[in-house]
């Protein structure tokens, strides 16, 4: 790379960290790091560092597209593998470090952004829940996915919380000849919800015996809808719960019932 082009600000940060780690360095290397210092801190100060609250994304103004994965092919494959694991070991939080995927925080919660960039392409109509609506530019830039206003037409539904999720029966259930054409839901705000919520018993393919699933943010209404969803097998929706540092899959084959034995 020719020297007269500036380096990307993020790799500047990386390089100057290397400089710090290696104490014995020549004078001009140190001078270079110093010269890059102010510019680098300015850029880093501007970049959002933490996602404070999902609801903060609903401010309405469109967000300019920011950077996506650090390494698109490797990262998207890692996340795809993770999603497969979550779906094959249902109702269990599978840990994953989403922070390592993005140098700059994406406008969506990291796990949601990671799944969206992995699963969506130009043939995947995406529906964004109101809190995520302002991130349309980010989605379109990185995935070319068509953004639909009508949740029925979506193949991928990104919802910030259960209260923003459309009724499951409204979403695409798939075709009897092509059950795979149903919608996949990525639901944030459930896995890390600190409220006590429901204790559920989960069973189905992928589970040798019934396990307890702490569906913190899930409501009884969701559990009732889920029973209907399962009854329509092989049609039905698949849900991936996106936490801060884990995913949990709720495939359509999964049975959920309240632990207290309510029918």
């Amino acid at each position: 790379m020719p020297t007269n082009l500036p380096q990307p600000s993020q790799s500047q940060a990386h390089r100057s960290q290397d400089h710090r780690a290696q104490a014995q360095r020549s004078q001009d290397h140190r001078a270079q790091a110093q010269r890059q210092g102010p510019a680098q801190s300015k850029t880093l100060a501007k970049a959002p560092t933490e996602i404070p609250n999902v609801a903060a994304f609903g401010s309405g103004a469109p967000i300019k597209p920011g950077p996506g994965f650090n390494d698109y092919p490797m990262d998207s494959q890692a996340v795809f593998r993770l999603a497969l694991e979550a779906m094959s070991k249902p109702a269990q939080a599978i840990p994953f470090d989403f922070g390592a995927l993005f140098k700059t925080a994406p406008p969506l919660p990291r796990a949601v952004a990671a799944l969206a960039l992995t699963l969506a392409d130009h043939l995947t109509p995406v529906w964004l829940s109101p809190s995520f609506a302002a991130t349309e530019n980010f989605m379109v830039f990185h995935t070319s996915a068509p953004i639909v206003r009508d949740p029925e037409k979506a193949a991928l539904v990104l919802a910030a919380s259960q209260s923003e999720l459309p009724p499951l029966s409204l979403l695409s259930q798939g075709d009897p000849r092509y059950p795979d054409r149903s919608a996949t839901i990525v639901l944030a705000g459930v896995l890390d919800d600190p409220s006590p919520g429901l204790s559920l018993l989960a069973s189905g393919p992928g589970l040798a015996e019934e396990i307890i699933f702490e569906g913190h943010g899930l409501t009884e209404a969701f559990v009732d809808q889920w029973a209907l969803n399962r009854a329509s097998y092989p049609l039905g929706l698949d849900v991936i719960l996106a936490g801060n540092a884990s995913l949990a899959g709720l495939p359509r084959s999964l049975a959920l019932k309240p632990k207290d034995g309510r029918a």
């Binding site: 790379m1 020719p2 082009l5 500036p6 990307p8 993020q10 597209p65 920011g66 996506g68 830039f141």
Partner: protein, 151 residues
């Protein structure tokens, strides 16, 4: 993206940046001095694009073949620059995207326009030189002496 600038202007600018020669582009960009830091939105990545062609203005387009292209997007102080260039040209693509982003900054706009104009001039000169070279080999069939008139 909503923009106040006329579409044709940016299109012309991006065309010049994408078609210009890499060494020239980098030389001219280097003359701008220290440039502000940028953030990659999409690192230079190469891929194939389908080139469509038409045999005639009223014929249906057909797929001529695939061409290798490089694309890159980055942001400088919130201005997003894009570049698509033919071939495996990550450095040129980066420079072109950077120039496109800087062109949206009023401070840099005149300088980038000068660069684009210089590249356009180069392209015109190259084209003229090529035409001249071809012109020499043009055969004027009607001046050839026909066999039966030779004796």
């Amino acid at each position: 993206m909503p923009s106040t600038e006329p579409v044709l202007e940016r299109k012309r600018l991006m065309r010049a940046l994408a078609l210009g020669r890499e060494d020239r582009l980098i030389e001219l960009m280097g003359q701008l001095g220290d440039l502000p830091p940028f953030e990659y939105l999409r690192k230079p990545q190469k891929g194939l694009v389908m080139v469509k062609a038409r045999a005639d203005a009223h014929n249906a387009p057909f797929n001529l073949g695939e061409a290798l292209a490089t694309r890159c997007s980055l942001s400088v102080n919130g201005n997003v620059g894009h570049a698509y260039v033919l071939g495996d040209e990550p450095t040129k693509c980066l420079a072109a995207a950077l120039a496109d982003a800087l062109a949206q900054d009023p401070d840099y706009r005149p300088a980038i326009e000068q660069i684009a104009l210089a590249l356009e001039m180069d392209l015109a000169r190259e084209r003229a030189a090529k035409l001249e070279k071809i012109q020499k080999t043009k055969v004027e069939f009607f001046t050839l002496v026909r066999g039966e008139d030779a004796d």
